[in-house]
Every structure is written in C-alpha cells, then in structure tokens.
C-alpha cells in the first residue's frame, strides 16, 4: 500500500509528462471500448432486425426447400404442420411485368394478420376486389414500382396451369434486412393458397416464442442461431479487422510509458540508491517503479471516464449514423447503430490496458536489479 501511495505521488509529481501519457492511454482505452461497443451494438441490431423481419425464433423448412435454389420451390411445399407457435409462409415462383419487362420473383404468401414478423402485412388484409402485394424498397426500386402502382403478376397453380392477374402495390416497406426484400413480393397467404390451389400448404414456417420445437416428418427445423450464422461471421470479421487499429493506438501509449520509465529510472538513480540504502530490497524498488508505470493506466481510466462516459453515453443514446449502402452480403445495416457497452467489455479492456501498462513499466525497471547502491547514490552508471 505504501508502494502504491508513493508510486502515485511520484507519478503525479511528474506533472505534464504523466498527463501526456495518461491522455494517450485514455484515448486507447476509450477507443477500444467504443469500437467494440459499436460492433456489439451493430451485431445486436443486425441480429434483432433479422430476427424481427426474417428468421423469427427459427424456421421449420419443408425438407425440399432450399432458399438458394429457386427451382426447388416447385416441389418444396406441403400441408403446414398444425403446431402451436408457427406461422406458415408459402413461396412460389412468379413473374411480374412492370412495363413489358419480365421479372422473375419469389411470391411469398404470409398471413395478413400475423404478429410473428415485423413485415407490415396489415396492408395485405383484403379490401374490395383488388389483390394486394407489398414489397421492400430495394425490390420496388429495381422493378421501378411505387405504392399504388398496378402490375401484372403471372404464376402457375399446383398443376402448372398459368394464371395471371393485376395486383396493387399496397405498401413499399423499408427494412434493413435484404433477405425479405430483394427479388420477392409478399401477398396474403390465404390469397396465395387459393391462387395456387394449395389450401393449407406452406413452404416454411416461422416460429415464435410459443413454439415447442418438434419437427414433424418432412420438415426440418433451422434454429435461430443457424439462420444467424452469417451475421455472426461478418461481425467477427469486423471485430478482428478493427482490433488492429486500436491495438496500434494502445501500442503507442505503451511506447510512451516505456520511454517515460526509461527516463525516470535514468534521472532518479540517486533516489533509487537512497531507497536501497534505506533498506528497501531491489525487488521492492522494481515493484515501486513498476507500480508507478502501471498506475498510468489507472489515471488513464479515470481520465478516460471523465470524457468517455458522457461521450459514449451520448452516442448510445443518439446512435451513430450509418450510410445507406447496398450490402451484398445480405447483412442488416440500420441507418443508425447504437453502441452497446457490456460489463465484460469494460472489465476486459481495463485488464488489457492495466496489464499491458504494467508489463512495459516493468521492462525498464528490471535494470535496477543490476544497480550497485553506492554507484546509484552517486548518480552514475546506467
């Protein structure tokens, strides 16, 4: 405890030099927490959005269903199992003809009054004679369609017989999840089942919390985690890529501490000699200097907290705006990311910074072990 008090006193006594080091170290400290917080926030948002819009609490797929092979859709449907907590979705291939152009789409039937996903399916509740569809903004853009437009839709029923009708775009929705947007349009499930002559059938079912988890014959359950693997991968890769950045900043801060330590030991030889002459062992002196260097990290945390906590709290509130760009990887990117700072993240960063600062403080201090107290008292050697 004495060592610690003494170390802190020495450190504060060094004035500007200490505060410069502390400033840089606190930068590194705040940046590490901020960057990871941002990525965690992104991860959380991407997972949340994808769960809300697309995967729910997992999905039960018809065994023939392969989302990457549209040709499987012809066969991949069957009577929807009547388990609780499952919302059926029927998917068929269809073609829309915006202005004489031919565009193949996936036509997805979803119950208009569903609550499982965030899709604005209320807009599909039938009204009058018109058949309503909704589609995402990406799809609307690539087809050149807007809310209220009419477009001819052609599909085949379960026997392969062509059918076609004009449909109204009841709503163009804005989602971060490309998976429910690109290359597809949504229609009321009952309407689609009637259109195709497949009453009661589904291609896949989206589970909510009440689903018990049993998969009947002919259906396979995809857990939420399985469906979110891609997101986890992207996030992991962003984390790894970003870590280099803040590790470099940390390295700079450590360089500063190292440099400072070298100088203190050089300039304070007489002091060291005195300590030893007064009966402190070399180990104790090394400990003193190491603690002194390491204490930089404690000050850095304090300083970092002073400006970091308000800053990060504000960012967590206000969010970090993100650019609207088409992400080819199909990852949900919101307009704003709200950083999330977990306890583990903060404690982990504290440990990292403290341990690293202590190590670089210890390295130059080891020299003290080879010091002859008499020489040291004279202020020679080193």
């Amino acid at each position: 405890m004495l060592t610690f008090k003494l170390a802190l006193k020495n450190l504060l006594g060094a004035g500007l030099r200490t505060w410069l080091n502390v400033a840089v170290l606190s930068f590194a400290f705040v940046l590490i927490i901020f960057y990871n917080g941002m990525i965690d926030g992104w991860n959380e948002q991407a997972r949340r959005d994808t769960i809300e819009w697309d995967v729910g609490q997992g999905q039960l797929w018809h065994t023939d269903y392969d989302p990457y092979d549209p040709f499987t859709l012809q066969e991949a449907h069957g009577m929807a199992p009547a388990e609780a907590g499952l919302m059926p979705v029927l998917i068929v291939q269809a073609t829309i003809y915006p202005e004489g152009r031919m565009m193949p789409v996936r036509l997805k039937g979803i119950p208009a009054r569903q609550q499982t996903l965030a899709l604005p399916t209320e807009a599909l509740v039938p009204a009058g004679d018109e058949t309503r569809i909704i589609l995402g903004k990406r799809m609307a853009k690539s087809a050149g369609l807007a809310e209220g437009d009419r477009v001819l839709l052609r599909w085949r029923d379960q026997h392969g017989t062509f059918d076609a009708r004009e449909v109204v775009i009841a709503q163009v929705f804005d989602t971060n999840v490309p998976n429910v947007d690109a290359g597809q349009v949504w229609i009321d499930l009952a309407v689609l089942q009637e259109m195709t002559g497949m009453p009661g059938e589904a291609t896949m079912l989206v589970a909510d919390q009440t689903y018990a988890g049993s998969a009947p014959e002919g259906w396979a359950f995809q857990t939420q985690d399985q469906l979110l693997t891609e997101i986890d991968t992207v996030i992991q890769s962003k984390k790894v890529g970003g870590s280099i950045t803040y590790l470099m900043l940390l390295l700079i801060a450590l360089l500063a501490i190292f440099d400072t330590q070298v100088l203190s030991i050089f300039r304070r030889q007489r002091e060291i000699g005195t300590y030893i002459a007064l009966g402190m062992t070399r180990r104790e002196v090394i400990a003193l200097f190491t603690v002194e260097g390491g204490a930089n990290s404690l000050l850095a945390m304090a300083v970092g907290a002073v400006y970091g906590i308000p800053l990060m709290a504000w960012l967590a509130q206000a969010g970090i705006p993100m650019p609207a760009a088409t992400d080819n990887v199909g990852l949900a990117v919101a307009e704003k990311i709200f950083p999330v700072y977990g306890l583990g993240l903060v404690l982990g960063t504290v440990a990292l910074v403290t341990v690293a600062a202590t190590i670089v403080s210890y390295m130059p201090a080891r020299k003290i072990a080879y010091l002859r107290p008499t020489d040291a008292l004279k202020g020679k050697i080193l």
């Binding site: 500007l16 030099r17 410069l20 080091n21 400033a23 840089v24 930068f27 590194a28 940046l31 990457y68 092979d69 040709f71 152009r101 565009m103 193949p104 690539s142 290359g183 693997t229 891609e230 986890d232 991968t233 992207v234 992991q236 890769s237 790894v240 890529g241 970003g242 280099i244 950045t245 470099m248 900043l249 390295l251 700079i252 801060a253 360089l255 500063a256 440099d259 400072t260 070298v262 100088l263 050089f266 300039r267 993100m322 650019p323 609207a324 760009a325 088409t326 992400d327 080819n328 990887v329 199909g330 004279k378 202020g379 020679k380």
Partner: protein, 424 residues
C-alpha cells in the same frame, strides 16, 4: 551548425538513440495505421470494386437497366475496339472484359449421359492472358480448395460446395448448357481443374469460373462482353478521377448513343456506394486524426524527456559560458534533426511494411468462424499519398514542441546551482 549537430547526434548514440527510436516507432505506427485504415475502411468498397463495380464500369444502358437478369443479349459489342481505344486514351488503367451468365452444369456418366445436373451462375474473366490481373483481383488462387488454376482454354473452376453436390472431382469433365447471346442453345465442355470457396453462401452454391474466351465461344459472344471494367493503376480507387472519367466518356458517347451504346458508371454510381464511401472517408479521417493527435502527444512527451535527459549537459555548457539562447536554439535544431531522422526512418519502415501487407494481406481467416461470407478475412493496407507525409507532423512538430517546453528550463537555471548539480 547543422553539420555539427548531426555529428553530435550520430557520435553520441546515448543521447540521441532513444529519442530517434521512439520517434521512428511512433512515425512507423502512424504511417502503418493510416494505410491500414485506408485498407480496412475501404474493404467493402474495394470488394465491390473487385467483384462487381470496377473503378469504372462500362455496359450498355439496356444491359445496365436489367443487369440483375444477366441480359447478355444486350451486351456490349465491339469490345476489342472499345478496349483498344480506352487503352490508348487511358494507358495507365487496366481495362478488362467480364461476362456473367447463367445455365445448367451437367455431369456425364461413362456413357456420356446425364449423371447429375444443377443450375449454375457463371463468371467469365480473363484467366489466361499472360498479363491478366483478374486472378489476383478476385483472389482466385487464394480461394482454391482443391485442384489447380486453369492453364488452358476449356478448363474451369467451380465452387467447392457445388462440386460436392454434383459429386465431382477435379479433373472430371462437365458440360455447360445454356443459351447464347442470341438465345440459341449452347453446349460447352469444360474440364473442372479446381474447386474454390468464395465465402458467400449464395455463390458457393453454384458458381463456375471460366476464361473469358471460353465464355465468348460458349455464348456466341465473339468480341462481346456484358461489362468492361476499368481499374486504376495500383488498384487504388480515385473517386474524383473516376467521376471525371465517366463524365467525359459519356459526354463523348452521348451524341451517338442508342440504348446499346456503351455507358460508363463510376464506382460511386453503383450499388449505392456513394454514401458509403463518403462516410468511410470521414470515419477514416477521424481515426487518423485521433491517432496523429495521440502520437503527437506521445512524441511531445518524448521531446520533453529528451530535453530533461540533458539537463546536466546544459548545466556544463552554461558553466562553460555558452549563452542560454544558443543552447536553446541548438536544442531545438537537434530536435528537428532527430524528428526528421526518426520520421524518415519511421515513414520508410511504415511504408515498407504497408507495401508488404498491401501485397500479401493479413489473413484473419483462422480467427473468423469458417461458415464463409463474401467478406475479406484477408486485410490489406492501402498506401495513399497521405502515408508519405502523415508521420512527419507528429514526428517533427511534436519533437520540437516537447524540446521547446523542456528547454525553457534552461533559462531558469541559476549558475550557482549548476555547480551543485555538477558535484559528482
């Protein structure tokens, strides 16, 4: 004077070595970080450029409007002339044709009859020209899972998962069945010589990569291509230049342009990348700013330490009668020299390592779960003009500032006290 100081610096390593090392390391890290951020923040843009958008891309307007449907019937014609003229006007750029196509991959049994079949998306690039950059650009060699790269025409790569689905080994023959640019049936035999993994589930499900000349024969697209991509020298995207290039090109074509005339798009015109790029620029600048700031603080401290280290020396020099101003000036000159030496060493080292990382990339593949995404697990630095000078700000200025502050002490020294300090 400078000569004298330089001698002092070089001959008295004890005095100058540590500051130079620290400045060098600091500048080295600054340069590295600047190129690293350029690379990491640009990775998404860069991926788009490599796989899809080019730095500029030329298509027919009709093709561009329906590009999602791979409408090769609307492809560019007269591509060789087009590329020749582009190479004349923009000799420093790399112009390369690509064809995207769809079709069926059919695997024969011993009798030559269909054993397995699956829908495939095709990408045809220049694989075989001796000076092709496409292999490196798409990191095809790095994505090989089994087998080898195509070496002659008629050899193809397919995605590994697809090969497994078709129960196909490298060395086996397949037939591509699709339709030509004009809608006729197309049959073309390939030998699968290798399998690749892109990391994107969608692409890994069924992709075939072939040489552009094979695709031209298969799809009856002699002298045609769906798109012609242009890349700036060094693979670095220069937005202002791309936009200017696009405007000039389109203005020239515009007068005689029907819907099949070539039309150029800059990278930022595609995939909504404009917003992303502007944003990345701001964020990268911010990071560099923070970092340079931090570095400046560290080197300031180094300067301070350097000055403090030499209090005794100054004492002696004062005692010998040297003017305080002269000592102070020489201290500052030395600081500048040390800063410059350190900055040059650091910048060279930083650029050197950046160049290595830019070339080879840092592979974090093992740290990322192996489900695969079309995401770079290989990170690269990106050497920009900024990297050449960015290190000098903290390197020289901060050293100077630190020494200047430390040197103020010189003026405070009392001669009487000096001798006390000097008693050894």
């Amino acid at each position: 004077m400078i000569h004298f100081l330089l001698k002092g610096i070089l001959r008295d390593p004890k005095r100058s070595r540590l500051p130079i090392i620290v400045v060098s390391i600091g500048v080295f890290l600054t340069v590295l970080l600047s190129t690293w951020l350029g690379g990491v923040f640009g990775d998404m843009v860069d991926m788009n450029a490599r796989f899809d958008t080019g730095h500029v891309k030329i298509m027919t307007r009709a093709y561009a409007e329906n590009s999602a449907q791979l409408p090769n019937d609307l492809a560019l014609l007269g591509v060789n002339d087009l590329i020749d003229s582009l190479e004349t006007v923009y000799p420093d750029m790399d112009w390369t044709p690509r064809i995207r196509f769809g079709g069926l991959i059919d695997v024969p049994d011993e009798e030559g009859e269909t054993r397995a079949q699956g829908p495939a998306g095709g990408l045809a690039v220049d694989l075989l020209s001796p000076d092709t950059r496409e292999i490196e650009r798409l990191d095809i060699r790095g994505s090989l899972v089994r087998g080898r790269m195509p070496e002659t025409q008629g050899e193809a790569l397919i995605s590994d998962a697809f090969a497994q689905k078709l129960d196909l080994e490298p060395g086996e023959a397949i037939t591509f069945f699709g339709s030509t640019m004009y809608g006729s049936m197309s049959f073309y035999n390939f030998t699968v010589v290798g399998t690749i993994r892109f990391g994107s589930v969608a692409m890994d499900r069924g992709t075939i990569i072939v040489d552009i000349e094979d695709a031209r024969q298969a799809l009856d697209m002699e002298d045609a291509a769906g798109e012609v991509l242009g890349y700036f020298a060094g693979g670095r995207y220069d937005d202002a230049r791309a936009v200017a290039l696009r405007s000039a090109f389109n203005a020239e074509i515009g007068e005689r342009g029907d819907e099949f005339a070539p039309e150029m798009l800059a990278l930022r015109d595609q995939n909504d990348l404009a917003g992303m790029m502007d944003y990345m620029d701001v964020v990268a600048e911010l990071f560099v700013f923070i970092f340079v700031g931090a570095m400046a603080v560290v080197l300031w401290n180094t300067g301070l330490l350097g000055g403090l280290r030499r209090y005794t020396e100054f004492g002696i020099r004062l005692a010998l009668g040297e003017a305080k101003g002269a000592i102070y000036r020489s201290l500052l000159m030395e600081a500048v020299l040390i800063g410059l030496i350190g900055s040059v060493i650091g910048t060279l080292a930083g650029l050197g390592l950046s160049a290595v990382i830019q070339h080879y990339g840092l592979d974090f593949g093992s740290m990322v779960p192996n489900t695969g995404m079309m995401l770079p697990t290989v990170y690269r630095t990106k050497i920009t003009a900024q990297a050449f000078y960015i290190g000098f700000f903290p390197g020289v200025l901060s050293m100077l500032l630190g020494n200047a502050l430390a040197g103020i002490g010189i003026y405070k020294r009392q001669t009487a006290q000096l001798f006390k300090e000097l008693e050894v």
